[in-house]
Amino acid sequence: MIEPRHAAPLLALALAPLMTGIINRTKAFFAGRQGPPLLQAYFDLWKLLRKGAVYSRATTWVFRAGPMVGVATGAAALLIVPLGGEPALLAFPGDILLLAGLLALARFFIIAAALDTGSAFEGMGASREAQFSALAEPALLLSLAALARLTGGLSLSDLFRDITPAAWVENGPALALAAAALVIVFLAENARIPVDDPNTHLELTMIHEVMVLDHGGPDFAYVLYGAALKLWVLGALVIGVLVPWRGPNPWANLAAVVAGLFVLSVAVGVVESCMARLRLLRVPQLLTVAGVFAALAIILLRR
C-alpha cells in the first residue's frame, strides 16, 4: 500500500522543475509576454541530457562531482522534509542539522567545482556565494531552532506536525518572525531576486549563475535539476510554517502542500517582477535581517 509519505519524495522529484516554470510564466505575464511553456524546464533538462560534455584540461574530478553532489543532496533532503503534516520517509531527532548539513555539502561542492575551473569569474561568484551563505546558514539554523523551541521537536517531521493553527494563535509573532526569516533564506539560497537575478546577462553582477558558466551538457542538467530540488526543499519549509491547516485526509494534505508550493512560485514571480536586485553591498544586511528575525523569534519563545 503506497502512503503519502512514500509518494511525497517521488512527487518532488517529478514536480520540482515545474516550480521554475511557474515562476517564469508569472514573470512573463507581468511583463506582458507570452513566455516559455510551463514545461520548458523539462525540455531544457531533456535537451541537455542528450548533449555531450566538454571538460577543460585544467579541471579535475571535483568539477564533475559538483553537479552530481548537488542532485544527490537535494534528493537526500527530500527524504527528511515532511509534506502536509505527515512524517517524512526518514525522521529522527536532529535531522534538522542533517538538512543544514546537506545544503552546506551541496554548496561546498558547487563552490569547489567553480574554483576548480580556475576562471576568474567563477572564483568571484564562488566568493560571493560563500560570503552570503555564511550569513544565510545561521539564519536558517536560527529559524529552525526557533521552530524547534516552539514545538519541542528535534526532527523536522515532529516540528512541522506541531505547527498548527493553535500554535499560530498562541505564538503568532514568533512564528511570523521565523517564517519571515525562512522566506528570506529561501530567496537567498535559491538565488532569486532581491539577492541574485537569475536572468542577468552580466557576469559581474551574477552570483549563482556565474559559478556554473563552464558546466555544459548533462552536468549543467544536473546543476539545474539540483537547483530545482533545493527550491522545492526550502519552499516546503516555508509552506510548512505558513500553511498550518491540516485536513483528515493525508492525500488531500499532500495535494494542498504541492498547491501551496506552486502558489509560492507565483509569489516569487511576483516579487521578481516588482523588485530590483539589491546592491551586492546590501545583501549581507538583508541576510542579517533574517538572522535578527530568527533570533527575535527565539527570544520571544524563551519562556
Binding site: 494563535v169 518572525l177 544586511q285 535578527v292 533570533a295
Partner: protein, 214 residues
Amino acid sequence: MSAWIDGVLVTLILTNLAVLGSSRLNACIRIIALQGVVLGLLPILVGEGAPTIRMTLLTAATMGLKGAVFPWLLLRALRVAGIRREVEPFIGYNWSVLAGLLSLAASVWLGGRLPMPETARSSLVGPVALFMIFCGLFVIVSRRKAITQILGYIIMENGAYAFGVVLLEEIPVLVELGILMDAFVAVFVMGVAIYHIQREFDHVDVDQLDTLKG
C-alpha cells in the same frame, strides 16, 4: 492579547534596528513615526475588555503626538534648516546594527534578572525598555547631526513609555498626559534649537560644537 502585545514589542525592537541601519534622516524619522503609532496601540491592547475613555484618550494622544506631530516637527526642521539628508554616523550602519543586537542580548539578559510584577502583561517589556534606552543612547552618541540626537531622545522616551504602559495598569491619566506633554515640548524646543543652531553655524554637526572646554 499577550501575543499581540508581544507583537507590538517585537515591532518596537525591529524599528529600532531599522533606525540603526538606515542611512537617510527622512527614513529614520518615518520609522520613528511608525514606532509611535505602534506604541499607541499598547494602551488598548493592555486593557482588558472594552476600551475605556482613558485608554482611547491615551491611544489617541500617543498616536497623534508620536505618530504625526513629532515626525511633522522633525521633517519641518529638516526642511526649514536645509539639513542634508544623510545620517552621517561616526559608527557605520552594519556595526551599529551589530551593536544594537549586542545590546539586545544584554538587555534580554538583564531584563530576565528583574523580578517583574504579576501585573506585567508581557515578560518581554523589561528587556525591550532597556534595549530602547541603550538604543536611544547609542543613536545619540554615534551620530553626528543634532537632529539624530532628538531621534535618540524620542527612542528612549518611547522605551520608558512602553515600560510604563505595560507594567503599570493605572497611572493616573493626568500624569500620563503630563508626560506626553513634556515629551512634546522637549521635541518642539529641540526642533527650535536646531533651527537656531543651523542659522548661527550653518551646520548641525554636534562634533563641531566643541568651543567650550575645561
